[in-house]
């Protein structure tokens, strides 16, 4: 295995590209606005250090130690019987990749629409309802998938080169948009709303759980993606400093996105604030943002900047998801190019239902989004099976480490992260009961407890019984069969 990141910058930028996705730009501003502004930010910063960074350190050390994809790394570190847990991590990220490609396609289509002026003067709601779920959305899904696969085709060097280009550009675009938003008349009200703390809100447990969820979803910790990139770390590479850097870099980008969106909303249309933040991710981004930009001086120009930034964020995250699946297939004995051929076919086929139906996409987002919390739990369990202290001594604080972590990290990974993961899963499933009080156990509705339990049960049963087969495949004993 000779593929390596050429430089530490390459690893950092590629991993930042993985972490900074659409969730930073379209979910964070909405969640912070509907959960107490400044109070939410306090909890959000705290959980960066209580969930994201500890799990990122685990992922980096798993990849660096095992030099294998998620299934192989779990088997290598936690024993042959733990392969199914790695399989779960991989399955969640793969299932998300199928519909995330659709989302990346939306962003690309809106970037093109903003340049061609299709969003000007018209009704953005009609444009969105005519596009989402249409055949055109399938073609943009295919375009996004093709672009991302073309990057991964060239291996780690391809990923590194693209990250070195796109991440600085993404940061530049978001900074320009944030500066533009802050300098709009009336933008100070947006900053006030974002940063004004309501201390009484800190007594609301929902705010803490939303802050923890935001960290779990938008930093990429516990998804298996950092593990995949860490396979290609140089051997004398630091782990803890990289994890802190990426966690803080990701949240720094979220803060800029929050400033950009909320200042724009408050400056242009403060009266519709509640309607805008309550419109959901897609409503905010694809219906309200074009309307707001249209009322802004040079709005068409800034709108294309916004959708270009969103496209870059989506594509760099999609690239990491595709690399995760590709890596698993390489571990099973396929060449990179054969593996990517399968990924394209699988991505087109399994992404198609999400491209053609928003209900299906929301169902998958719900089922595997909550599944990521179980992935985080599995990482913590695997670390415990290997020995959290041993992992800390031998890998985290091992060769090349710039920053030594203390026993606090072992406590966080061994105790705090598993407790957080269980609380989050129970809370989300409990919350979901109120979304559909009559049919919350219905297994074939988009966002119910029943659909989560059914899909998880099928997936976990299959993974558990295929554990030995996955182990043989991953260790190369059945290479001839798959290649």
């Amino acid at each position: 295995m000779s593929e390596r990141f050429h430089s530490r910058w390459g690893l950092i930028l590629a991993t930042l590209g993985m972490a900074v996705g659409t969730g930073n730009i379209w979910r964070f501003p909405r969640i912070v606005a509907s959960n107490g502004g400044g109070s939410f930010l306090v909890a959000w910063v705290l959980f960066l250090f209580l969930w994201s960074v500890p799990l990122m350190i685990v992922e980096f050390s798993f990849g660096k130690r095992a030099r294998r994809g998620a299934i192989g790394a779990f088997r290598h570190l936690a024993g042959d019987g733990a392969g199914w847990m790695g399989g779960w991590v991989a399955l969640c990220a793969t299932a998300i990749m199928f519909y995330y490609s659709v989302v990346a396609g939306w962003c690309l289509r809106y970037f093109v629409a903003s340049i061609r002026g299709e969003l000007r003067g018209g009704d953005s709601e009609s444009f969105w309802s005519g596009f989402a779920g249409s055949h055109e959305a399938f073609f943009t899904h295919a375009a996004a998938l093709t672009i991302a696969v073309a990057v991964v085709w060239f291996g780690v060097r391809g990923i590194e080169r693209v990250a070195k280009l796109l991440i600085p550009l993404l940061a530049f675009l978001v900074i320009v948009l944030a500066v533009r938003a802050v300098t709009l008349p009336g933008a100070a009200a947006g900053l006030e709303f974002l940063f004004r703390p309501e201390w009484s809100a800190l007594a609301d447990v929902n705010i803490w759980l939303q802050a923890l969820t935001q960290n779990a979803w938008d930093t990429g910790a516990g998804w298996g993606l950092i593990l995949t990139y860490a396979i290609y770390m140089r051997s004398r590479e630091d782990v803890p400093l990289n994890a802190f850097l990426i966690g803080l870099g990701n949240n720094a980008m979220s803060l800029l996105a929050g400033i950009m969106v909320l200042c724009t909303v408050f400056a242009i249309n403060p009266g519709a604030r509640d309607q805008i933040v309550g419109a959901g991710n897609e409503g905010l981004t694809f219906i309200w943002m074009p309307r707001l930009f249209e009322q802004m001086p040079a709005g068409g120009f800034f709108m294309s900047f916004f959708f270009l930034a969103l496209s870059f964020a989506a594509l760099t995250s999609l690239i990491s998801m595709i690399e995760l699946v590709t890596r698993l297939l390489i571990d099973a004995g396929l060449t990179r190019h054969k593996a990517l051929g399968l990924v394209v076919l699988g991505g087109l086929w399994f992404g198609a239902p999400s491209a053609l139906s928003l209900d299906f996409l929301h169902n998958q987002d719900w089922v595997w989004g909550v599944g990521l919390m179980l992935s985080g739990l599995f990482f913590a369990i695997a670390a415990r099976r290997f020995g959290v202290e041993r992992l800390r001594r031998e890998v985290v604080n091992g060769e090349g480490s710039d920053l030594k972590v203390g026993r606090w990290w072992s406590f966080l990974v061994g105790v705090v992260v598993p407790v957080e993961a269980v609380i989050l899963m129970v809370w989300w499933l409990w919350e979901a009961r109120s979304w559909d009080p009559e049919g919350w156990l219905h297994p074939f509705r988009a966002e119910t407890v029943g659909t989560v339990l059914l899909q998880w049960l099928v997936a976990l049963t299959l993974l558990f019984f295929l554990n030995r087969w996955m182990g043989r495949l991953e260790s190369g004993e059945e290479t001839e069969i798959v290649s």
């Binding site: 910063v45 006030e192 974002l194 940063f195 004004r196 703390p197 850097l245 870099g249 710039d402």
Partner: protein
């Protein structure tokens, strides 16, 4: 903007952006040191 909001903005942005920039500088210095050590090792061999 109220004073409280300004204070929280400075604290949160200080932790997140300040922390990021400090660690970035740390990483760059560390990489320079590591590169110098490698160069020194190559000269000796």
């Amino acid at each position: 903007m109220s004073t409280l909001a300004v204070v929280l903005m400075v604290v949160i942005c200080g932790i997140v952006w300040g922390g990021f920039l400090v660690l970035l500088s740390w990483m760059m210095v560390s990489e320079k040191k590591k590169a110098a050590l490698v160069e020194k090792g190559q000269e000796q061999t």
